[in-house]
């Protein structure tokens, strides 16, 4: 018997089940649905990005604001605080000629004014200082006062005035 040497005559394909129409129908529906979801996501993407950007900007403003409102320290004041009074005096003595007399006077006057001002603010408004003067008191009033108080004039002369 002659051998059949055609290779394909000795190969048998394994059978497998081909899905029915319902399978392909459902597959088409699934893909259409998935595509719709993707499209929706794509449309929503700019909205999401804009919202995210807005949130970032607001956050940045909140974070940055306290640093911008921060009051810078007065470095001039800090620098004067570091100078001791001895150093200041030495400097003034060494450079006294550079100071304008008028300016110094003005400064002293204004300093005194400030001092007075601060003193008056310390006193109570209803606390009025009264200076005692004897100009408005007659000799007779004085003598009457001594008499009422049983004070002997001669004793006074001995203790206080002599």
């Amino acid at each position: 018997m002659k051998e059949n040497n055609d290779l394909f005559d000795h190969l048998k394909k394994k059978e497998f089940t081909i899905p029915d129409t319902a399978y392909f129908n459902s597959l088409a529906d699934k893909v259409i649905l998935e595509n719709q979801v993707k499209k929706k996501t794509f449309v929503m993407r700019p909205v999401i990005w804009i919202t995210a950007a807005a949130a970032i900007i607001i956050l940045a403003i909140i974070i940055v604001k306290p640093t911008t409102s921060y009051v810078q320290p007065d470095f001039t004041q800090l620098a004067f605080n570091d100078i001791s009074s001895t150093e200041a005096e030495n400097y003034i003595n060494a450079n006294l000629n550079d100071f304008e007399i008028d300016l110094i006077e003005e400064l002293i006057i204004s300093d005194n004014a400030i001092q007075e001002n601060s003193d008056t603010t310390k006193t109570q408004p209803n606390e009025v200082k009264q200076t005692v003067t004897f100009d408005n008191i007659s000799k007779e009033d004085i003598l009457n006062y001594f008499e009422n108080e049983n004070i002997d004039i001669e004793d006074l002369e001995e203790e206080s005035f002599i």
Binding site: E3, N4, N5, D6, L7, F8, D9, H10, L11, K12, K13, K14, F16, I18, P19, T21, F24, N25, L27, A28, K30, V31, I32, E34, N35
Partner: protein, 188 residues
Amino acid sequence: MTNSHPEDIEIINMLVQDGKNSDIGFKTLVMKYGESLFRQIHFMTKNKTYTDDILQNVFIKVYENLSSFKQESSLYTWLYRIARNETLNFLEKEKRRTGVKVEDHYFEIIAGHSVLDGNTSERISELLDQAIESLPEKQKLVFKLKYLEDLKYSEIAEKLKMSEGGLKANFHHAKQKIEDFILARLNH
């Protein structure tokens, strides 16, 4: 110039529209080519679950990229290429992920061939896969449609927009090359 079948042109026109027409067009496409693509993918994966997943991915890509289809080849040729690339990528990823190559086989050996006898179905299936992959694109496609899908030449001619004479010549050359490929490896 378009190489598409009038029915395919109608499907494409429906698909590029929005809304219901697009959905109807897509359903028509799946019903027309789904089975053929299923066979093709199943032949490569030998696994029903893989085939389901890959076929779905193929149709998603088709839906998304239909606007890039230039109609220089037939619609089926375009679909076939997408399905083939998608399957190869899937198998490569699966091999990397699991470290195991799909080893199922598609053929059984009928005793009586001096060279085939003594070889396993797995070995022959593997060689057949390699032989098919080594074919030029057109021969590969014609061989799959004729041999694996058992389509008539008239049906293939309609799908690929080729003459029946040209298909017969392509199938004959493909078969001869595959046989030579397998025998050469089994004899050494």
